[in-house]
Symmetry: C2
Subunit: 471 residues, 2 copies
């Protein structure tokens, strides 16, 4: 429980208007996309790194948790105040401080919405590729904390590939600058990349120097239709093997096609699978690459490759793609959405394995996502009110993770561990790896006040033993 | 001093043929490109991570230093056994374990020579971009330890951008696997990137999973001649501002041109500066981009842009570029070579500043290098036998670093800190940053046995005070 002294001090630091302790406000900062609810004891809206530093110093002295929060769109619980404490919302820190076309860099505060940032840089013919589905709401700071990805990762990589340097407040309150404004820089350890994807457990980002690219000259959007899901999966590898790296290469299975079509009516064909493919670059590269893509799809059993002819057709295709996640609730009221990754050549095996798991557990498992980089969103559909189905769904998660690890993959491509994947961490990492990470956490946050309860599994021997052997 | 028990145990671990304590052998492992000499007490040639693990466990128990070593081509002393101890040479670990064209990845052992690795992947139409000047000798492991760069970094980034995952032996002997085989992966902290560029102080890499790209269709090599150095520097920014990112964009000043021409006679023109520029990609992109480059160079005062017509001409130009460093000894017997980086738009200011420092200190300062990413190799030429000139050269280093920091740059783009830049670390990093790094080091290596004496400056109050204020 926060004392009145702490509450008054919080008000003094950020200003009385920028701190709240009211139930209604706290409720607004108690959830994220995981659908769990954890009430904080206070929410504050600082404007500067210095204010955040003072709060963290007080947290160390008084022993209360501090939870940094962007827009709360995360799928793994990164911004949930699971142990109460003070939520630091970055929503007042939303300045794009600088866009520098000569050096292809920009400096932004953490609360800038990613999509708004992209609009700003695109006005200057520049390009910030990371594009998580949440981009119209989620923030640069949240994207950095979770190392957000998105469809364009297959060609352009993820958030960490665009973070050159940070101003960050360490859990103990020191404000440091990491990294450089340049592509190169090897002075000391790479704390920049250590911060990216650390899920708000090692520091609070207050400024980010981001790398930009020139905006590609043009993009071509295609939809390849497959009567067989496995053939679509094979085409994914085929395209890369043909040395074409599309800017997006998304797979959508029949369950998703059906749901999204009922939900949004954008004219998706009834098929076992479609690939949504974009190639970008100069006009002639795009022409050439799209021909290769068509050829490879046809050679792998595609019955048709449609090319979007105008902006509306492109928009409709993306509307369909982005509506999948929500539309799946038409099938079942609940779902577990896991963003596993496998080497892309293993996608056909993954697909076959998922179908087997679905059959064994009598569950509908829908798959869609960033096939180009092997990152498939596996949606296990179930009804929470049906205890047997709920139990099967939970066990299917372990099956899916076991299959993923067996195929040389990872449990999370872009959502992070947070609280949802913490119990499964040991399926992927050895004790020695987890221990090394815990030592990093302790080195930065000796009192464990910053975003506690995340990433590392709670001690639970029975569960640990159960998870030791991948299924 | 190593005891006989330790020596016997080393022989037992790696095999008697793979451990040496003889003066002649130790001498071979006592130096690198810094020209300093530090004798180890033993050199061992392990074949596996397990052998390295056993050595590190013994080092912790017995308290002797362990120094990992690739080819010893480093410029900052990373592989020097400055406190004696056991050198672990990776030269027996030189297998390319796998090249996977479907997933665009490869797995290599640390002792693989970078150039040989590149030849292997290029046979399959694949591409591993990092290209430090030392690439015909230096190793994947050494490149990872120092986060090696090279001319292609302007477009393709540096070693860290190509390391997806590692098998690494921690200083305490645990063998862990970090990262993934995929572009995405956010399970736990990014220990992979923390290891890259940590100069062999946080772990010994025993296997690396590396990212590959498709080999570009073609490359065009150009040489732009400038009567004014500052104009050449302006053209560098101009090219990027025109949204062309060349695969290399190298600046060579008149001192370097003169030296290299006397040394290698490759037909470089007598000019104040030249830019060596390559554009790569598809045939038509390269045609278009090279036209833009020509136009921008002409618009910035270039009197001629030559295009290499055949492989011999390309080879000659690169021969000239790679010979600069050695050829500079024609001017003076000694040099200090610093690989500072500034935002590329600040290169004209940097050039002007370097000329001023040279004038003030009555020294010849030659500049060349990767102007495209702002990474200029500043060579301060002097004669060690002349005490006044030596002193001026040492002080010029501080001037150059002060100028670099003032321009928003970093003290090292690709050589690392090691022992040569450790005394200047505080010019770039605050106490809080250095302290965070030291805590990481202590978390990984509590006894300080792995590559001690590197990166962090020795306590020296007088020196620290002197360096606090950038000149």
């Amino acid at each position: 429980m926060l004392t009145n002294i702490v509450k008054n001090e919080l008000k003094r630091i950020v200003g009385a208007d920028n701190a709240s302790f009211s139930k209604e406000d706290l409720l607004c900062y108690s959830y994220d996309a995981t659908n769990s609810l954890h009430l904080p004891e206070a929410v504050v809206f600082p404007a500067t790194a210095e204010e955040i530093s003072l709060i963290l110093k007080m947290a160390n002295a008084e022993g209360f948790p501090v939870i940094p929060r962007g827009a709360g769109t995360g799928f793994s619980g990164g911004s949930l105040p699971v142990e109460g404490g003070v939520v630091i919302s970055t929503e007042r820190m939303k300045a794009v401080i600088e866009i520098d076309p000569d050096n292809l860099t920009a400096i932004a505060e953490p609360g800038v919405v990613t999509w708004e940032f992209q609009q700003e840089v695109e006005k200057l013919g520049l390009f910030y590729p990371p594009d998580p589905s949440s981009l119209k709401f989620s923030t640069i700071g949240g994207n950095i904390a979770e190392c957000a990805g998105g469809p364009r990762a297959v060609k352009y990589g993820v958030t960490k590939d665009y973070v050159l340097g940070l101003e960050v407040v360490l859990p103990t309150g020191e404000i440091i600058n990491t990294g450089v404004r340049t592509a190169k820089g090897v002075v000391g350890y790479d704390i920049t990349k250590l911060m990216v994807g650390s899920e708000g457990t090692l520091g609070i980002v207050t400024k980010a120097t981001l790398k930009l690219l020139p905006l590609p000259e043009t993009i071509k959007t295609m939809l390849a239709i497959f009567p067989d899901l496995k053939d679509a999966a094979k085409a994914v590898s085929g395209i890369i093997r043909a040395k074409v790296i599309p800017s997006t290469l998304e797979l959508i299975d029949s369950v998703c096609i059906k749901c999204v079509e009922e939900y949004a009516q954008v004219g998706l064909p009834q098929a076992e699978a479609v690939l949504l493919i974009e190639v970008d670059g100069s006009f002639d590269t795009v022409d050439k690459d799209s021909e290769v893509v068509k050829r490879i799809c046809a050679g792998n059993g595609s019955t048709e490759v449609r090319i979007a002819n105008d902006k509306k057709e492109v928009k409709d295709l993306w509307k369909a793609r982005r509506a999948i996640s929500a539309s799946l609730f038409r099938v079942k009221p609940n779902k577990i959405n896991e963003d596993i990754v496998v080497p892309r050549s293993a996608i056909p095996e993954l697909i076959a394995g998922l179908q087997e798991i679905g059959k064994k557990r009598n569950l509908l498992i829908a798959g869609f996502g960033h096939a180009g980089d092997g990152n498939i969103h596996v949606n296990i559909m179930y009804d929470k009110k049906d205890p047997k189905e709920s139990k099967e769904a939970q066990e299917a998660v372990v099956d899916v993770f076991g299959l993923t690890i067996k195929l040389g993959g990872t449990l999370s491509g872009e959502h992070g561990v947070g609280i949802t994947k913490a119990p499964y961490l040991k399926m992927e990492l050895t004790e020695a790896s987890i221990d090394a990470m815990k030592r990093i956490k302790a080195a930065f946050d000796p009192k464990g006040i910053l975003n506690p309860g995340k990433i590392f599994p709670k001690a639970d021997k029975a569960q640990a033993d159960r998870l030791k052997e991948p299924v």
